[in-house]
Symmetry: C2
Subunit: 379 residues, 2 copies
């Protein structure tokens, strides 16, 4: 199979169980995509990422264009070969990190120019160059360059920004079609903007569908508006998207965010939270978040979750994890990152099963009760 | 089997191929023991350590007595359970790190008192307490507390120090026999001291054999004397040790050190070099040491060693490893530590095979030629 297609397998309320077919393999949805910023899902081997159940990982255009460089990765056989991951890869457009990480940005109709946060050297990123980079990397799913509207934004600000993103989406689509490095079956997603304003989200969603994309992302959320507001925006934005294409909520989120967004019809997610929190000593579990640096774990012989299939959750005591983290041992970061990605993937698998069984609402109730019960009983 | 025994299987010149039987499993010798300082072989999972061919790992009494504490590890089921390693563990006595790491040491006939390098709190370490700690940890092979004679030392200094170590060896043996926490089949090794002086080494070796130990270590080497001098000391010290007990050269060393010491009749080694160098970007390979931070690797698509069975050596380009290290990615440290431990273990397996085949001298010649040939041809 050399094409990119989405099959909707089941629905339960607004929630969707589906599968995305790509030449690099299938992606079961709803899907969580571990983030491999600079060509590595931090502190994990790709074999582990795969074994936790992840079908696809994300790479960051911004980081990879700075180091080692898109042309350099292409010369080494592309990002899959470079990072030893044979499954599908989604790359973002680079726009979000230009806004959040780089110095001395200058935005024009044509492109954004910025200085690298690493060495201060200057770069220009246009919709066309972003697509070129993503094709050089060999990304299976590519994203249009957009402006992630800051929060809060007035209606006027959000409207101006959304229209710029729409014009860039058209340029991205044109560039994608014309790209010499593009391979059969690679896909391009549009990104709905419009901040918290329903009319702007509708305008954006309609304009993008007019252009036509293989999937649709919702951008400009999880930028400080809070979960309640994010879900309010999802409530009216998700139904604006076509049923026969995957829907991707960018940069989200906590386990509870994922459950709520899946319930509203989202199919794909990415977030640095499980790996970043893991490196800082926080474990995600069925019982909520556990801060293993806390002294109360120092003598606790219990694993994070003895029922888990992930060795990191099952085969090491909290006392040992606490010890590793207190000593700054790399293995502590490895084990918690692994546990967290495994927990996120098991949650997605549970959500897929619940939707397929038409049982999502009772699953969600059980999930919330277990998370609210908190950590295990104190010893 | 609940006893500790050593079988000498083959000899080739002074070199020995043997096996140590312990209740926790066999140790094929010559053996390299990866160092798990604070209860973790840094940046490696224990499964990986095992799969590289390591039969035994080392734990550090000094680090573990400070954090989390010997009684704490015992309460959690001992060091094997704590670090999820079911094979044999050797612990050092703590003496070497007291000398090299701690502050404000005071040495008396009775014990050494010192302040923790972590928080400045005071500890006392006596031969008896060292044995108690090692038994609480559950070490399969325990070491007598000794004074690692500094280098250089005059004959008088070395003589005084060696005699103190001999008296402490007797106290260690007495304490070991009396230890309530000791388990059947646990072993105690003596440590030959005497600096670079043949007469002192002979006095030490004889006195220790008079006391009687399950194995004999050579201490006070690899402390700045250089390889040539170390090998000169080994030349006269190894023959002083009984043939029917394992011989352990502490804290050694480079691949070439291991080859030379095995040729002189050493059976066991430990060293932080493969893991520490790995974390700093240096790879040990059949072709010598490779500094992957060097810019010449930035575009090199070749793996470290395509003939290796270790995925870290075989499945990632030098360009990717260079990229990870330049970016400070944890995966870079994970992969190089893995590669290095795997290389050390494959070298030991090759040495064991060569001795068994009576072919050691030609193996050594081939090893030296390959190492001298250096890194691969420049691209």
């Amino acid at each position: 199979m050399s094409s990119f297609t989405y099959d909707l397998l089941a629905e339960d309320g607004a929630a969707r169980r589906g599968v995305i077919h790509t030449p690099r393999g299938d992606i079961q949805t709803p899907a969580f995509m571990p983030v491999g910023t600079a060509g590595t899902v931090k502190a994990l081997y790709t074999d582990q990422v795969k074994e936790t159940g992840a079908d696809i990982v994300l790479g960051n255009t911004y980081h990879l264009m700075l180091r080692p460089g898109a042309e350099e990765v292409a010369a080494l056989g592309g990002l899959h070969s470079f990072m030893n991951w044979q499954g599908p890869i989604l790359t973002d457009s680079g726009g979000f990190q230009v806004m959040s990480l780089s110095k001395l940005r200058k935005m024009t109709e044509e492109a954004v120019t910025f200085q690298s946060h690493i060495d201060g050297s200057s770069y220009e990123l246009s919709p066309e160059r972003s697509i070129e980079i993503q094709c050089l990397l060999g990304a299976d799913i590519q994203m249009v360059l957009d402006e992630c509207t800051p929060f809060p934004a007035t209606h006027d600000e959000a409207k101006y920004s959304m229209h710029l993103s729409t014009r860039w989406a058209q340029r991205s689509k044109d560039a994608f079609k014309a790209q010499a490095h593009r391979k059969e079956g690679q896909a391009l997603f549009g990104i709905v903007q419009g901040s918290v304003y329903e009319d702007l989200r509708q305008t954006s969603a309609s304009a993008l569908q007019e252009i036509g994309f293989d999937g649709y992302a919702i951008g400009g959320l999880a930028v400080g508006e809070g979960q309640e507001e994010m879900l309010r925006v999802l409530d009216f934005t998700a139904p604006m998207l076509p049923k026969d294409r995957p829907r991707y909520l960018m940069g989200v989120g906590t386990p509870d965010d994922l459950v709520e967004a899946v319930s509203r019809g989202i199919d794909m997610f990415d977030c640095v939270m499980p790996t970043r929190s893991g490196r800082h000593g926080q474990a995600f579990t069925r019982f909520g978040k556990v801060n293993l640096k806390n002294a109360r774990h120092a003598n606790d012989p219990r694993p994070l979750d003895e029922t888990s299939t992930c060795p990191a959750a099952r085969d090491y005591s909290r006392a040992y994890l606490h010890h590793l983290l207190k000593n700054g041992e790399i293995l502590g970061m490895m084990l918690l990152s692994w546990n967290n990605i495994a927990y996120y993937q098991s949650l997605m698998a549970d959500l897929r099963g619940a939707i397929a069984a038409g049982d999502l609402s009772s699953f969600v109730a059980g999930f919330k009760a277990e998370q609210a019960a908190g950590d295990l009983t104190p010893l």
